[in-house]
């Protein structure tokens, strides 16, 4: 996710889980990762993309609040939505999300999403949206939180009746996917994963796309029917607006005429009425929190923003300053033109708060003398980040942790030089940043899809788990890195070329941070070169080889990518493996 992408959004959704397959992630098989898909996903064509079920930057409600904060800084105009699934206790979570300042909470049911879900999950996982929605609405009302969030629901809403019931149970917005898809021509083939969709919907294959016969008017028509039915039901109920329907469970009643087991179902809890002390639907917006960007940086950088002048600023920073640089980056990106390298040079002294330099675009260099909390460089989108200990520090940099957990999570581009050791989950889902660091904690480079990581020191365990792209070079002086690396998807080996790429990066690292380790590596380059272990995902290497082959055959650019993709598509060994 780049800063540019975020800036375009009207609403940004954090998908904590999906209704039809709660607790599961998504996978895009390699054969569906066409070159143009790989481009927007910042990955390599033909290489499978894994969306892991856990969010490696969200382990607690505070983490979620932090992400909401970051996203609001990255795009102050977008609504931030959090997607939860119907489950017992979802109300408590939703209350936390509302306190975490999300604008929208979506409660998703188990009936939808049948195209991308495994059969086992469709049949055996999840709960109806009605249960989660009723619980969430009641909990929010009880805690006087309901009036600051929009409550949305989805999960195979099909008719105006569904919408009316959802509104009466507390929903304010309604999501539709299956019905519009069918209106557009989906015939529920359940081959979305195979890239053989015969109606040209779940595919990027141009040949199949030609079969698509849908028309926006079909969806419009469907929605008008749904709205019409909704109006009819509202007329019967005697309500004028949807807002006055929200949470009016007194207008719902359990059918008394059901046979068999259904008769024994008690829906009282679902239908209980709670008198709201505050509003019963969203009436106020979540309060904003101005950060360092809004207070200082934007004003200081105005000459650069407006006239492209070079700016160099030094500021103190403290750990309450969160997402520093994000608002500035958003303002730069929103203007649409990228700034030349090093146009804005910011230097900070002190302990940076969470999400330092998150989503920062190119043209901005942020140098920190001190240390940083979690999420350093989250989603970095082209900027340069340098972290080094203060000049007068007495500790040995390469033996001490200088940046917190989850640094460069989901970064898509840029450079970073960290003099010192990073915490856990370093460069998870990195897809483009080139970074030098002097040691990392557990789960380094997990789910990485691109970019380049040079580690000049020890790593924690489970390095490179689920890594499907990019390369990591680890200086393994002890010779025991292989034991700490998860080799399910990657191959380990020595540097096969002259190592010039690594050397250049280390040189830059030394220049930026005055690193002692870096200096030692450069001085003993020829002895230490064989000690570097190259970590490269197998699929990734196969595609790189195919691209090189296509380029050697005289093709260039997109043509080479497409040729490699097609060759890979036909690769029987690959099909059997996947």
């Amino acid at each position: 996710m780049t800063g540019e992408y975020l800036v375009q959004a009207q609403e940004i959704q954090i998908k904590i889980a999906q209704g039809a397959k709660p607790g599961e992630g998504g996978q895009l098989p390699g054969r569906k990762v066409y070159p143009w898909i790989a481009k927007v996903r910042h990955s390599i064509p033909g290489v499978e993309l894994i969306s892991p079920p856990p969010h490696h930057d969200i382990y607690s409600i505070e983490d979620l609040a932090q992400l909401i904060y970051d996203l609001k800084k990255a795009n102050p105009q977008a609504r931030i939505s959090v997607k939860l699934v119907s489950a017992a206790g979802v109300g408590t979570i939703a209350a936390g999300v509302a306190k975490g300042k999300a604008d929208v909470i979506l409660i998703s049911g188990y009936d939808g999403g049948t195209g991308a879900s495994p059969r086992t999950s469709i049949r055996h996982a999840g709960l109806p949206w009605e249960l989660g929605l009723a619980e969430t609405h009641q909990t929010l009302v009880l805690n006087n939180l309901r009036d600051r969030v929009v409550l949305e629901t989805d999960g195979k809403l099909l008719t105006g009746r569904d919408v009316a019931i959802a509104a009466l149970l507390g929903a304010q917005e309604f999501g539709f996917a299956t019905a519009p898809l069918i209106a557009l021509g989906c015939v529920m083939m359940r081959v979305c994963n195979l890239d053989t969709c015969p109606v040209g919907i779940a595919t990027q294959n141009p040949k199949l796309r030609q079969r698509f016969r849908g028309d926006p008017q079909y969806v419009q028509n469907l929605m008008q029917f749904i709205a019409m039915e909704m109006r009819e039901i509202m007329a019967q109920l005697g309500v004028r607006t949807v807002s006055e329907m929200i949470g009016r469970t007194d207008l719902l009643q359990q059918r008394p005429d059901l046979p068999g087991k259904a008769k024994g179902v008690d829906l009282q809890r679902l239908l209980s009425q709670i008198r709201p002390a505050a509003g019963h639907y969203c009436q106020v917006s979540q309060p904003g929190e101005p950060g360092l960007d809004e207070r200082r940086l934007l004003d200081l950088c105005r000459p650069a923003l407006e006239r492209g002048e070079q700016i160099k600023v030094m500021l103190p920073i403290r750990n309450t300053d969160r997402a520093v640089g994000t608002g500035l980056g958003s303002a730069i990106t929103r203007r649409g033109s990228s700034l030349p390298d090093d146009t804005i040079q910011l230097e900070f002294v002190g302990s940076a708060g969470q999400s330092f330099a998150a989503f920062v675009p190119g043209g901005v260099t942020m140098k920190l003398f001190g240390d940083a909390n979690d999420y350093l460089g989250k989603g970095l989108s082209g900027g340069r980040v340098i972290v080094r200990p203060p000049a007068k520090a007495t500790f040995v940099a390469e033996e001490n942790i200088i940046v917190g957990n989850v640094a460069f999570y989901g970064a898509t581009g840029g450079e970073a030089f960290i003099r010192g050791v990073a915490g856990e989950r370093f460069c998870v889902r990195n897809s483009g940043v080139r970074v030098v660091v002097e040691g990392v904690g557990d789960h380094g480079c997990e789910y990485m899809t691109g970019g380049l990581v040079v580690v000049l020191g020890p790593t924690g365990r489970n390095f490179a788990a689920g890594m499907s792209g990019g390369i990591a070079y680890v200086l393994d002086e002890e010779g025991n890195f292989a034991r700490r690396c998860n080799q399910a998807l990657v191959d380990l080996g020595p540097i096969t070329d002259d190592g010039e790429q690594v050397r250049e990066l280390v040189q830059k690292h030394v220049q930026a941070t005055d690193s002692q380790v870096g200096k030692r590596v450069l001085e003993n380059w020829h002895e230490l070169l064989p000690r570097f272990v190259r970590v490269i995902p197998r699929d990734y290497r196969r595609m790189l080889d195919a691209i090189n082959k296509a380029q050697a055959g005289g093709l260039s650019g997109d043509q080479a990518l497409m040729a490699a993709f097609t060759a890979n598509f036909r690769d029987a060994a690959h099909l059997d493996a996947s």
Binding site: V187, M189, T196
Partner: protein
């Protein structure tokens, strides 16, 4: 779905046929078997849809969609692709007693609702079904398997068409002792005498009847229940009765000259032809050297045209009261409904080959049959109809032989009245869950639903057997 990309890699290839000039010289089947490799490729085109309609057997907006027998089509397509022919046959027989019939004479509702046909071309399901069934017979996988246990219940099945045969087969397998009554000299009903030999070789019908005999089913031919076999006796001798006597009442043409010499019902003409072929004799009604007019544009009309051509007619004209169907699906006839399309049948293709042009004439309503002085037919007079007859459009078609192929209006009343059965306004026997108004009397097939397809008849025969079985065993 053995091959997800099969439908993108292979084109649909229809079943190969003998060329018209070759097949017009004899009465053998015009369809040829498909080579194995091609069958595998065609089977690979099946997508094993998440929501398949091919075996739905449902009605959407008044039009049928999918196989009434609920044949497990995607499963055996996959097995054929993988070369598991025997397993494919086993899957096929789970739902279908007589794949050798349906694969030859069914209009293939399955292919009409195949997802492949939505924006492309359907899988050649019927050709695959035929290959499976013929391979099963050739490989000896179809053998005499009489029931292990007999219930000592006796069931009479009246009529030996597809519904009667399927019902008898199922009841026999359940252990009941079944006697099938047939008024004609050979069992098979319309399979025997309604459908000509070039479409369904009678050897296949007899092969199946022989197999059923070996398994214990008794066939009593030349027996018209109600006339040759008293109804009272039937009720006394049998614990249950299944009526599968079809809808044999032909739709009549009420115009002046109907009684003229040389005007015949299509079913009589086709019966005479098939009897003659089987006996190696000259048919009682022959088109040799005659100008023929066939009235009716359905499948029976096609069969008449093809038979006339083989008998050596001088000309053959087909008159249809309805307008020609469209070449492509109309918006009112969306997938997965059975597509109402203009598909010239094998007989029409042959006629084009012989006479150089399509011999069908649409929107033609017969007004009169003109005779010469001796009461012999001379010509058919028709008028073109839009919604109404169009003035000045009267046409005369010279004819020595006129064949009436306008379908059937309902079951014959004689036996049903003797039994004292309730009838609906169309004359059919209403039988919810196959039980008629009389206890122990069941109805299946055309006698219950009016004229229909072989696949429906087999489906009903099977279901009626289950209903009858429950009645007999009290389960």
């Amino acid at each position: 779905m053995g091959k997800p990309t099969g439908y993108l890699e292979y084109q649909r290839r229809p079943s190969p046929c003998r060329p018209p000039q070759a097949r017009l010289g004899d009465w053998r089947e015009f369809c040829l078997p498909m080579p194995d490799q091609e069958l595998r490729e065609q089977a690979a085109r099946c997508m094993d849809c998440g929501v398949p309609f091919c075996h739905g057997g449902v009605v959407f907006g008044g039009a049928p969609a999918g196989c009434p027998l609920h044949n497990l089509i995607p499963e055996w397509n996959d097995m054929v692709y993988r070369g598991f022919w025997r397993e494919a046959y086993q899957r096929l027989t789970i739902t279908n007693d007589f794949p050798e019939f349906t694969s030859r004479v069914c209009p293939a509702l399955c292919e009409g609702s195949c997802t492949g046909g939505l924006y492309g071309e359907a899988v050649t399901i019927q050709a695959i079904e035929r290959a499976i069934s013929e391979r099963a017979f050739a490989s000896g996988w179809v053998w005499c398997e009489p029931p292990v246990h007999r219930t000592r219940k006796r069931v009479a099945v009246v009529g030996s068409g597809p519904a009667g045969l399927a019902c008898a087969n199922q009841l026999n397998q359940l252990g009941h002792s079944v006697t099938v009554f047939e008024q004609a000299d050979r069992p098979g009903g319309l399979l025997m005498y309604g459908i000509p030999n070039m479409k369904l070789d009678k050897a296949f019908v007899l092969r199946r009847v022989r197999l059923m005999r070996e398994q214990g089913v008794v066939f009593q031919t030349n027996t018209r229940v109600g006339d040759d076999y008293p109804v009272k006796l039937l009720e006394r001798e049998f614990d249950a009765i299944v009526l599968a006597c079809g809808a044999r009442q032909p739709r009549e043409l009420s115009v002046p000259g109907r009684e003229a010499q040389g005007v015949h019902l299509a079913v009589d003409y086709l019966t005479a032809s098939t009897k003659a072929i089987l006996a190696g004799a000259t048919p009682a009604i022959s088109a040799r050297g005659l100008h023929v007019v066939v009235i009716g544009g359905g499948d029976t009309g096609t069969d008449c045209v093809a038979t006339c051509l083989r008998q050596g007619c001088r000309s053959v004209i087909q008159l249809e009261i309805m307008p020609a169907r469209p070449k492509v699906r109309s918006p009112e006839n969306p997938w997965p409904q059975w597509p109402q399309l203009d598909r010239p049948g094998y007989g029409q293709t042959e006629a084009v080959r012989v006479f150089g042009q399509d011999q069908r004439h649409f929107c033609q309503q017969t007004q009169a049959i003109l005779t010469d002085g001796d009461g012999n037919v001379r010509a058919v007079q028709s008028v073109q109809v839009g919604p109404r007859p169009m003035a000045g459009s009267v046409q005369e078609w010279p004819a020595d032989l006129v064949l009436l192929a306008m379908g059937f209006s309902g079951p014959e009343s004689r036996l049903l009245d003797q039994l004292g059965l309730a009838r609906d306004q169309r004359g059919n026997v209403p039988a919810e869950f196959f039980a008629t108004s009389l206890p122990g009397v069941f109805a299946a097939g055309d006698v219950k639903r009016g004229q229909s397809l072989v696949a429906w008849a087999i489906a009903e025969g099977r279901a009626a057997a289950q209903a009858c079985h429950r009645y007999l065993t009290g389960e």
